[in-house]
């Protein structure tokens, strides 16, 4: 039983990790520079 739970945890960690990575990669590819603004609390450079 412990072996099953242990490997299930490993698989879940790998799946969650991969999903986060894929999601971030999608956002990198669809990023539009013209819609971005740098975050500074004094907005003197924009």
């Amino acid at each position: 039983m412990e072996v099953f739970i242990g490997f299930a945890l490993v698989v879940i960690t790998l799946c969650v990790g991969t999903a986060i990575g894929l999601n971030a990669n999608k956002n990198v590819r669809t990023f539009k520079e013209e819609e971005h603004e740098i975050f500074v609390d004094k907005d003197v450079r924009n």
Binding site: N23, F39, N46
Partner: protein, 511 residues
Amino acid sequence: MKNKDQQMLEDRKQLNRYGYAQELLRDMGGFSNFAISFSIISILTGAVSLYGHGLTYGGPGMMGFGWTIVAFFVLLVAASLAELASAIPTAGALYHWAATLKGRRIGWYTAWINLIGQIGIVAGIDYSCALFADPLLATVFGYTSTDTTILIVFGVILLLHGILNHVGIKIVAKLNDFSAWYHMLVVAILVVSLAFFTKNGLQPIDYLFQVGQTFSDKPYFLAFLIGLLQAQWTFTGYDASAHTIEETVHPRVRAPWGIYNSVAFSFVFGFIMLAFVTLSIHDAAGAVNSDNAFIYVISQALGGTFGSIVLWLVTFAMFFCGLSSITSFSRMMYAFSRDKGMPFSRHWAEISRKFRTPAKAIWLAVILSFALALIDYLTKILNPNAGYSTIAFLTGVSVVGLYVAYGIPIYLKLEAEAKGIFLRKHYGPWSLGKWSKPINILSIIWILFISIMMVIPPNQMAAYALGGMFIILIIMDLSYYKKHFKGPQAALEKSIEEIQRLEEEFEHEKE
């Protein structure tokens, strides 16, 4: 698709918008940025030097369950930090993010807590290296390894790291790249050796997930939680990819990947390594009662010369890990000092015109790390029955210091979003989208939990040290910095002409 020169010009302009000149040499690629964090996480340092700690408290199940549970949550923390690095790509990283999201004073505290964690991590890594190197050297040169000889070896290792970091980022970057491959290769050698040459064969797979057995006097559940220090300390220092962001080409994408991938790859390689090391144990009680459980297990499993070669390979991996951690530490101090957050800031913010490295900050990192281990050494001389291990103390300080510093900007980002200050348009290219909020919240919960776990007895000395340092910080803040520290916001007052003049000076020096 931009070429490297166009990209570097754009990166420089991006940095200028935060009020900073491009002083450091921007030459690191994506792999180098990943390699520095992967080398600092160094599964061959953290997981190995605290192997005895994990085994003593959590038994074999610590390697199967403990490693995976910690890795799951650390992936979330890494994703949260990666997102911030992409949004605000400056070397100050945690400190700069906190100061920008909330205010200069919280930024100042974040920087100092990060700095304390960095002292702990450099001292912990190089002390681990000395713990392995000294007995091996003692066998070669025929002397007896003692606390004093370990301290001397530790000092020599720090000195070598100081020199290499001073000489240049190009050498260090090459060594970091080599270190990443080296770590993977040594893990492969270790795994193959254990798989085929372990005396008496490997244990059945159930052994890796065996829970309920502790070699400590604590109840198992509590002992398991204390044992998590092994994995939690291993997964530290990946903020290095953010601290070297001003030396990375295309940093808003490459540094976040460096942070995230270094944790992900360390999880996979670390799990495989720990599984084989643990399955090769045939005398767990003997291992936990030995001076160094990992050396004991490898020596028992592989024996003689073969075992010694593997231990030398592991020791060199620790050496590379320490080298990278001083790079990260010095960049963090450089960034904080250029905003005048430390005493004698002018010196630590100075860049060597010849090597384009923060030379004085590098040597300060060396001295502070040695001082922390020296204080511990003297404490043990004055109180020989202190009842704690130096490595657990150093690693406890670094885990809490670093993770609290990781948690502050993550929390402040959530707060700024709730107040409508930090908006969708402020995210960089590497972002988590609608997953951001739940991932950030889970990260903070984990950080709170782990910060308490890492300082409860038998590791209470770390709590005393951190408490003492925090009192000193409050005194420093109230007596001077509250009035005089202007934070990264002050850099924004510099004119673009002033920034460009400074950059031209550096270019001129290079020619």
